[in-house]
Symmetry: C2
């Protein structure tokens, strides 16, 4: 049984990485209706189709996805446990408001997870995987020189993803994806175009990242990655807004 088509125009941000890996990891969710619905509902919310703080209308979502309330409610409980929505007793689900302080906390956790990924990657990465990251790094540098923001973002994301992959730790990968998903809801327009300093700084940090990874210096890479995320957070601070469907996440 296939879910009904979503009738809404549904502006696609285009830059976000299609998170299909989430399913492949959990055999539980691979092809069940529940898994499918969960992914679709998560995307629906992450993409900002529901106003933050607004009630999540079960009835409407039911007819939108062409299912009854039972599986929908199951999915809502899971999304609540992921921190995406909030379940108020007898008052339904609400899209969780990300306060500034929680945003900061989430950035720190992402930093911690990246730091861990870097540490583990230094232990486990294969030469081939390292070469690929090096290649991406140079490609990213090319984008930087060319002021190709879009390409830069794509490479940047690919590099961080590869590091997490290289860590070869499934629970870490899942947790990372979870937190990345939560942050994806937020559009902090760290527009590097208007923030030349940060762009250059980020590029230099990436040089350090590559260098530490080349030397398999786990502790060092760990610190650099955490600091990298901290700086990214700082660059984004104060500019975060709720999610109009557009614009990618900058580094």
């Amino acid at each position: 049984m296939v879910l009904g088509p979503v009738t809404e125009p549904e502006a696609d941000a285009g830059l976000e990485p299609a998170d299909g890996a989430r399913l492949s990891a959990m055999p539980s969710l691979a092809k069940s209706l529940h898994g499918e619905l969960l992914a679709r509902l998560r995307d629906y919310i992450v993409e900002g189709n529901l106003a933050v703080g607004a009630r999540v209308p079960e009835r409407m979502l039911c007819e939108r996805f062409g299912i009854s309330r039972t599986p929908l409610r199951e999915a809502l409980k899971v999304l609540a446990s992921e921190g995406l929505i909030e379940l108020l007793p007898n008052r339904g689900a609400r899209v969780r408001q990300l306060g500034a302080e929680e945003l900061v906390d989430l950035f720190d956790v992402m930093g911690g997870l990246e730091a861990l990924a870097g540490r583990l990657a230094c232990e486990k990465i294969t030469p081939a995987a390292y070469d690929e990251i090096e290649r991406l790094h140079h490609e990213m540098y090319g984008c930087y020189m060319r002021r190709d923001l879009h390409g830069y973002f794509a490479c940047n994301q690919a590099i961080h993803d590869r590091i997490v992959q290289a860590a070869d730790n499934e629970p870490l990968r899942a947790s990372y994806a979870n937190f990345a998903g939560r942050l994806r809801r937020v559009r902090y327009s760290a527009n590097l175009d208007e923030n030349r300093d940060r762009w250059g700084e980020a590029m230099r940090e990436h040089e350090e990242i590559l260098d530490a990874l080349r030397r398999r210096a786990g502790n060092e890479l760990s610190d650099i990655l955490f600091g990298h995320l901290r700086n990214k957070r700082r660059a984004a601070a104060g500019r975060e807004t709720t999610c109009p469907p557009d614009a990618g996440v900058a580094s």
Copy 2:
């Protein structure tokens, strides 16, 4: 903080935090039936009342908890998303088997989270909270000298908990509790009594931990904590067993 009465003097490497905070953090789950059931069911499984790999019998659990299948199934979905059980399409839920490699991965994630907690604690800890940790450290040292394994574990756990608390980061706390819960299912008999070397080593590592925390040396503390967990993992390696349906696991 009052830990539940640990009925067994037995072998607990001591990384499990008492997880009572899980509910208080999520207003969603605070007092709803769903939240209550979720916690109860999680405990039920974590405590080993169900054989690993065995099918989770919905019907039996329904009458055991006095509810119908709907809320039970909602809880199962959530537990599946937490990684505690596995949902096979049309074949029900099974208690997830923790393979040796996943156990290792979970230890590493715990190490990464503790490393992050240490880093953040160095930035945010209050003098009072530090003093309390120092007090616990000395108390733990006393236990060590006295060969009071039970007291040692309690202090050890309290210290790690305080560090996470001091990090003052709710998403981190929740994630930490989640992973700790998953590991709690496993009884790795890192019996320090028969492993004097490891005990002394662990005690020395704790000296370093306290020292780095005193100096608010985040990067350093981060490395030490990760290494600490690595060594704990090493000490436990090969001795882990699955949890027989009995014997409350030391909290």
